[in-house]
């Protein structure tokens, strides 16, 4: 309670952090890290430019850049003289402002020009444009977004980044169920409480109740069930959230695997992150060790979770 009060969190959140990290010391480390803004990062858009050329143009403008070791197109921006979203290079679509951790799901999904891909919660377009980049604007992507307002931002991102292999559909992704066994790659970056984004938005320390957490978790289960159903046999599904809540992550994956046979967790194909939680509040989920968790105090990123599933042939 004292920690929650000191750092301004709702008490249920800190109680869970103590369980996740297993020690008071690390919980405090985590809470401290959340007090500081994160390094910003960008993803160079190879659909429109070469990364080396972008790098030199931005350096000329006074940006200090460092490659993100686990993201081939990612750069940390450690210093800049102008706002990242106000450069000509940004407007030309040469880069996307994207959290380094949130670049991981697309790399984990690893789509190619031969894939039919669906991005089930696509706005504002960071991951959709990254998928298109990895596919070289070939193949096809269905980008689904329920919110009328957010679909506009999604379209603007696709236009700015030069994406031409995508169809945008405004609907609740749960309604995709009739498209069973259709997509070779499915990305579900699920709507979540955003508990991993506290360093970027401290209001989240108190704005999400345990009721919100339960609601998010139920929605995520429904969405992940749909994701599995619409994946083709042999298809890959990547589930991710910008939350560190096990209720939105390992619990969701574990519950869905109990409800659907013929799906398994697989190695994520990324070189960063801690294994998922195998045990949490009585839940045992051995396969979660192949999922990945990222934390501000350990990885210098937003709190993030990603897990790769394969649907058997």
């Amino acid at each position: 309670m004292r920690l929650a009060e000191k750092y301004g969190y709702l008490p249920y959140m800190v109680e869970r952090y103590l369980e996740i990290f297993g020690s008071l010391e690390e919980t405090v480390e985590f809470l401290e890290a959340c007090e500081h803004p994160l390094r910003r990062s960008i993803r160079c858009n190879t659909l429109k430019t070469e990364c080396s050329s972008l790098e030199s143009r931005l350096r000329e403008k006074g940006f200090r850049l460092e490659p993100v070791p686990w993201a081939p197109h990612g750069f940390w921006v450690t210093g800049s003289t102008v706002s990242l979203g106000a450069t000509l290079e940004y407007l030309l679509g040469y880069y996307y402002i994207q959290g380094a951790a949130s670049m991981l799901p697309a790399y984990s999904l690893s789509p190619t020009a031969d894939d039919l891909v669906v991005d089930m919660a696509a706005a504002p377009g960071g991951k959709t444009t990254q998928l298109a980049q990895l596919m070289g604007n070939r193949g096809a992507i269905l980008a689904v977004e329920a919110s009328r307002r957010r679909v506009k931002a999604l379209r603007a991102s696709l236009n700015r980044m030069g994406v031409t292999n995508t169809v945008v559909l405004r609907m609740d992704a749960r309604m995709l169920a009739p498209l069973k066994n259709t997509f070779s790659k499915v990305l579900l970056d699920a709507p979540c409480t955003g508990e991993g984004l506290i360093p970027l938005d401290p209001s989240r320390k108190r704005s999400r109740t345990i009721g919100d957490l339960k609601k998010a978790s139920s929605l995520q289960v429904e969405l992940l069930l749909t994701a599995i159903d619409i994946a083709s046999p042999g298809g890959v599904i990547v589930y991710s959230t910008c939350s560190i809540a096990p209720e939105e992550n390992e619990y969701v994956v574990s519950r869905v695997l109990r409800m659907r046979s013929g799906v398994r967790v697989s190695e994520p194909g990324i070189s960063v992150g801690d294994p998922g939680l195998i045990e949490y509040r009585g839940l045992l989920f051995e396969e979660a060790k192949m999922c990945r968790r990222l934390y501000p105090h350990r990885h210098g990123t937003e709190g993030f979770f990603t897990c790769r599933l394969v649907k058997e042939k």
Binding site: L88, L91, M175, P178
Partner: protein, 179 residues
């Protein structure tokens, strides 16, 4: 730049819409500009106005799959521009593809003028460095580009006092309106 709030209808572009698109591009930027339309099918998204989109084979196939849901796509493929009151206006993504292959209708401007253009300002004649393909006709659509040849937006060539190009659409739209 959006299809509006009304429920959208997605359909193949009509012959008239296709003719209007091709005529606008050829008249303003030369026949070479039509190469960007190669290998794709033109579709229209209709709401308050009509938007044209270019779909490659795989994307077109995907729209067929979506048809099983009884839903119309909000957009698809390359957004080409929109048709309103009988005229076609090219989109920002389209002019970025055309700028490198246009035979005419590209106005290269100084860095400072380019930056001001991104804030919605017109181009002064004194800021024009060169014009590809000779002086444009009055009211011709032109692409405004910087020294590197990067398209900054779309304008209308109109000499009015010290102004040579009226701003019609610029990349600053992504900041001003997109969110």
């Amino acid at each position: 730049m959006q299809a509006g709030e009304r429920e959208v209808v997605f359909r193949k572009a009509s012959p008239w819409e296709k003719r209007l698109l091709r005529k606008t591009l050829a008249d303003s930027f030369g026949e070479e500009a039509l190469n960007v339309l190669r290998g794709g099918e033109i579709y229209a998204v209709e709401a308050y106005w009509v938007e044209l989109h270019l779909l490659g084979a795989e994307v077109e196939k995907l729209t067929g799959i979506i048809g099983r849901l009884g839903r119309h796509p909000y957009s698809a493929g390359l957004f080409l521009g929109w048709v309103r009151r009988g005229s076609f206006t090219p989109s920002l993504p389209l002019i970025q593809l055309i700028v490198g292959i246009a035979e005419r209708g590209v106005v290269y401007v100084s860095e400072k003028a380019g930056m001001l253009f991104l804030y919605g300002r017109d181009i002064l004649c004194s800021s024009v460095l060169r014009v590809k393909g000779g002086k444009p006709r009055r009211r011709q659509l032109v692409i405004v580009a910087n020294k590197r040849g990067e398209a900054l937006g779309l304008g209308v060539f109109e000499k009015k006092g010290s102004v040579c190009v009226e701003n019609k659409l610029d990349l600053g739209w992504y900041l001003r309106r997109a969110g």
